[in-house]
Amino acid sequence: MMLRVISMAAWLAFVAACAEQIGEERAPAPAPAATPAPSQPAEFEPPARPSATANEARIDWQAARTDLASTPGLAAPEGFQIESDGQAPPVPVLLPTGLVTPATATAGPRFIHLPDGYLATYPGAVFDITVSGTNEVFDVTPGLGNGVEDLTFNSTVDGAMVSFSRYGAGYIVEFVCKVEAGAAGSACVEEGEAVELAQSLVIAGTR
């Protein structure tokens, strides 16, 4: 009697479980998603490795204000919104002067206020110019270095760049060639020309 009860119960359980599966199989298949979402593997935290640390540079606002007061007014390009006082970018704004936007340019100069600094882009006929400033600096080897006041020129794949530090902030002027590089990768801008332009930047805004 006991065996019969056990056998019947087991058989019913078996039938019920399989019937449930059959029911699932007969349910209409959901329509495939239009764009499959990328797989989301379980969150994984990589092993700790030595890393650069970000710091906020201390800005010498007094020096920037002094320089601004002694600088002839810069005729900022149309559309530039360089605020003053507390609304200004968190680094003194350095900009080039005398750049002329070519008639063929599809866009004019652009100024972008960033949480850590700013960007100013100027389209050109031979190369575009971008001037950037930031108060974020990365400590690769703690204790080494204290900003680079001297201008440093370097060629890049698509042009060149000049880097320097002033008022405690880090600045970079990038030149992006609009014409194809030469066979040996010669840039569209010579070092002398690039450095001269970086040296001619003037202060156009500060806190």
């Binding site: 009697m1 006991m2 065996l3 019969r4 056990i6 056998s7 119960a9 087991a10 359980a13 479980a17 399989c18 599966q21 990328p38 593997p41 994984f44 935290e45 990589p46 490795r49 890393s51 650069a52 970000a54 710091n55 652009r110 972008i112 960033l114 850590d116 960007l119 882009t121 575009d128 971008t130 950037s132 974020e136 600096v137 990365f138 400590d139 690769v140 080897t141 080494l144 270095g145 900003g147 680079v148 440093t152 370097n154 060629s155 890049t156 794949v157 698509d158 760049m161 880097s163 320097f164 530090s165 880090g170 970079i172 990038e174 992006v176 194809e180 590089a181 040996a184 990768g185 010669s186």
Partner: protein, 333 residues
């Protein structure tokens, strides 16, 4: 009574195992099904049989009241609960990589003693398999010759190629020598996808998505370059399909947003299908300079793949003969 209940449950579980599968939450979905092979002439399965009373003729009918309860021993107090012994689970590596600074033999002198210059990046390729390696020294490159879709290009381990030898005078203070490659080349996808891309019109090459590695602003789109500014870092992406970019200059993007697609645009200069990726960083020591991206990408790929990469010690890796470029070869990128 307890024994009977246990028996019923055990029997039910054993029979449930006879179904194709038992599903449970989080089991990863429906398993592949194999249709059962049934002999059409085989008799149907018998119905549940009537139990036989006293099958051995002993006079015992097996009535439920005849069951003797099993002796139950008192639980033994062992004091503190003992944890199971720790077992070292095998690590499942998601990929492998040579040491940072270990360039393809003969291709240059790598940056020693690297750190993660940009921790926390999102990997610049959204989903496809990616292979950090030299394009110039790989199959289909200017030095190695061969075909860029060669399956041997789509294998691990990864290779650093920051500081790789170049013809023009580009540098980084992190490289022991000048005239170097200022970024990391990333081959993407599979050999068959490489063939597909090769057979696709240039404007329609939209197979592998390139994404923003950090929140930032796209501020410059050149002939073959997209630049992303994120705090004191600039990320430079090259050789995307410039006719199918998903962003414009001035756009703010979030990490993971699609910028465009891997291609080989290089302003008319021939190159292979790959992403060239650079990090320019404002450092205390050197100002804005190119920094080695290799370990930042290793970390980002580990996060994307959900598991660690296997570090291949170059000292014990199989040696390969260095390949030196011809003297008259001009290596642009």
């Amino acid at each position: 009574m307890i024994w009977r209940s246990l028996s019923i449950a055990a029997c039910g579980i054993a029979l449930l195992g006879g179904c194709d599968a038992v599903r449970y939450p989080g089991d990863g979905g429906e398993p592949p099904r194999t249709p059962p092979t049934v002999d059409p002439d085989a008799p149907p399965p018998p119905p549940p049989s009537e139990p036989v009373l006293d099958p051995y003729g002993t006079g015992e009918t097996g009535g439920e009241d005849d069951l003797d309860p099993l002796p139950v021993s008192d639980p033994v107090d062992t004091g503190d609960t003992l944890a199971p012994p720790a077992v070292d689970e095998p690590v499942e590596f998601t990929f492998s990589y040579f040491a940072p600074g270990s360039l393809t033999p003969g291709s240059g002198t790598g940056a020693p003693d690297q750190i993660v210059h940009a921790p926390g990046l999102v990997f610049p390729i959204r989903t496809a398999p990616a292979y950090l390696q030299s394009m110039v020294w790989g199959f289909g490159g200017g030095v190695g010759g061969g075909d860029e879709c060669d399956p041997r290009n789509y294998t691990y381990p990864w290779r650093d190629n920051f500081c790789e030898t170049r013809t023009s005078n580009r540098s980084s203070p992190f490289c022991p020598l000048g005239r170097i490659h200022q970024g990391q080349d990333i081959r993407v996808g599979t050999p068959s996808e490489c063939e597909i891309l090769r057979g696709t019109a240039e404007d329609d090459r939209m197979l592998h998505e390139v994404v923003a590695v950090e929140d930032g602003v796209v501020y410059e789109i050149g002939t073959y370059t997209v630049k992303l500014r994120s705090g004191g870092r600039i990320f430079r992406y090259m050789h995307l399909n410039m006719d199918a970019l998903q962003v414009s200059a001035g756009d703010s993007v979030l990490a993971g947003d699609v910028l465009g697609y891997v291609s080989k645009d290089f302003g008319g200069t021939p190159t292979t299908f790959h992403l060239h990726f650079e990090i320019i960083q404002n450092t205390e020591e050197h100002g804005w300079v190119h920094v080695p991206p290799y370990l930042s990408l290793v970390e980002a790929y580990e996060r994307r793949e959900g598991g660690p990469g296997e570090f291949i010690d170059t000292a014990i890796a199989a040696a390969s003969a260095p390949v030196f470029p011809p003297d008259d070869l001009i290596i642009i990128e």
